[in-house]
Symmetry: C2
Subunit: 308 residues, 2 copies
């Protein structure tokens, strides 16, 4: 389950973005600085998402890019995607240990031996911090919960494909409630997602999808997820027409998270959950690909829609 | 050099913020969710900083909350603050290793044994990604460099003091150039900082300061830093009048970073650098403390200044 090798088209697009000064290299594949222009496109798209979703009365929550280790363990993320997670470790030694650490650094040796796990883990998806928080609040009101989050997420998959960053932002709306409430939410966003991205003049289609589950057992989970139609993606060709890039995803978790935490509806039933996620960097990359690297030359209707 | 124990006043303020629903607990001290209102105050203050600093023509750069491990090693952060750094580790094993990992999680045992260091480290201060980037661009133009950054930063110092978060946002302007250019920048921002924070109706004073250097050798570094007046802080009483909280800091690094990377002025000299940093969460906490937890009841001039 290693990260797929980047294609020539992906490497070329990355180089074009670097040459244009929209992204900046850090020396690590998948870790980039963003220019003011790149950032403005991300912010404006984020604001456009709010225009579509803001009327529904979602509770706006913002979390830092890490979650409690205990919540992370409880989430069962490690069962499905151990290879993508990032745990944060710190030095907890004394002055002698510090001298040893510095000597290793000085000699270019491995100095990580003394790093110990902290209580925090990188956020794997923007919705993860919400489940324990909503569980703590007790049974839902009658109309369930609707949440709005955005944060940097980490996935350890170094790649030269600019659409596969190790740190990227995900905007999400999350619905928690009865199966009917949750399915209605997903239907609504499948429609809205098409409308929203269509208004930005990019080719798209929606298809059933699966998560990158780890290992052989993961292959079965992936097949099962597709068979049940639990995950859909809104795909936009960025560097390949045959293999377009998932820019939005529409996920029905059934009672997975409801059972884990636990989450309960107003009448004490196990809650179902769903989310729609927007890959903010991926959307920006799609816009730059289709409308050009010079934002001022983008089609007027697109600039108007994004208030650019 | 462990994190100082939180005072009763600090714990009480944290509890008030949680009770009011401005911050949300995650189960880890120093790691909190933010409400829409808290976030709006942070965003509006960030925008106010841009109003003061935006006219100077700084290059706006935005980085994810982690930097390349190689750059981190080169920064010598480990010499001074090993206890605060956060390295990111990932699982890189096979299916058998995965089974063992899951068995550990299942039994509530330590499952971190197989986590291996990745090439990324949490950003310790918002300016860190800029030094290697500017070094790569070669000698500066005649008027040096002026940069504008903002990112989440990590410091491993779990605490019940809400002003000591493990993950918080830092906005910075960074100046690189001749000693004269850099000192003029710091003087300008010492004045601007006072004016900016004064306009928000909070009591403040500016004082010489030092960084929390590790160990006994660190004590000498701290004394030296104070003696040379390299670091000033803009302090606002949040939970204590006697020990006010550093909300802005004004740092003159002399040629420290210029030598490390190396950074060179237009005429080939080792560049000096300085930065002004705004602790966005700390400023928000100061505003909530002095004007109350209900933003709508804040003094009209403060709301006007922040466009709240």
């Amino acid at each position: 389950m290693s990260t797929p090798q980047a294609t020539d088209a992906q490497k070329q697009y990355l180089q074009a973005l670097l040459d244009k000064g929209l992204l900046f290299e850090t020396g690590v594949d998948g870790l980039y600085g963003r220019s003011e222009v790149f950032e403005r496109v991300v912010q404006k798209f984020d604001a456009l998402v709010s225009k579509y979703g803001g009327k529904d009365g979602a509770e706006v929550l913002r979390f830092p890019p890490a979650i409690a280790r205990k919540s992370f363990e409880q989430s069962e993320y490690l069962k499905s995607f151990p290879q993508l997670a990032g745990t944060i470790h710190s030095f907890m030694g004394n002055e002698k240990d510090h001298q040893a650490l510095l000597a290793h650094v000085e000699k270019g040796e491995d100095w990580m031996g003394g790093q110990k796990p902290t209580d925090v883990v990188m956020t794997p998806a923007a919705c993860y911090p919400t489940y324990p928080l909503m569980a703590k609040r007790g049974p839902f009101p009658k109309d369930g919960r609707l949440l709005d989050v955005q944060s940097y997420c980490f996935r350890h998959e170094p790649s030269l494909d600019p659409a596969r960053m190790q740190l990227f932002r995900m905007r999400e709306y999350i619905r928690m409630g009865s199966p009917e409430q949750v399915m209605a939410f997903r239907e609504q966003w499948l429609e809205r997602g098409k409308q929203l991205m269509g208004s930005l003049g990019v080719p798209l289609n929606i298809d059933v999808a699966n998560d990158p589950f780890f290992g052989r057992a993961g292959k079965m989970l992936a097949v099962n997820q597709r068979d049940q139609g639990l995950k859909f993606e809104l795909l936009i060709p960025i560097t390949s027409v045959e293999k377009p890039t998932a820019c939005l995803s529409f996920n029905y978790h059934q009672d997975h998270f409801g059972l884990l935490w636990p989450l309960r509806t107003h009448d004490g039933k196990v809650a179902h959950t769903a989310c729609v996620g927007f890959g903010l960097e991926r959307v920006a990359l799609a816009l730059f690909k289709h409308h050009g690297l010079d934002v001022s030359a983008w089609p007027a209707p697109v600039k108007k829609e994004l208030e650019l």
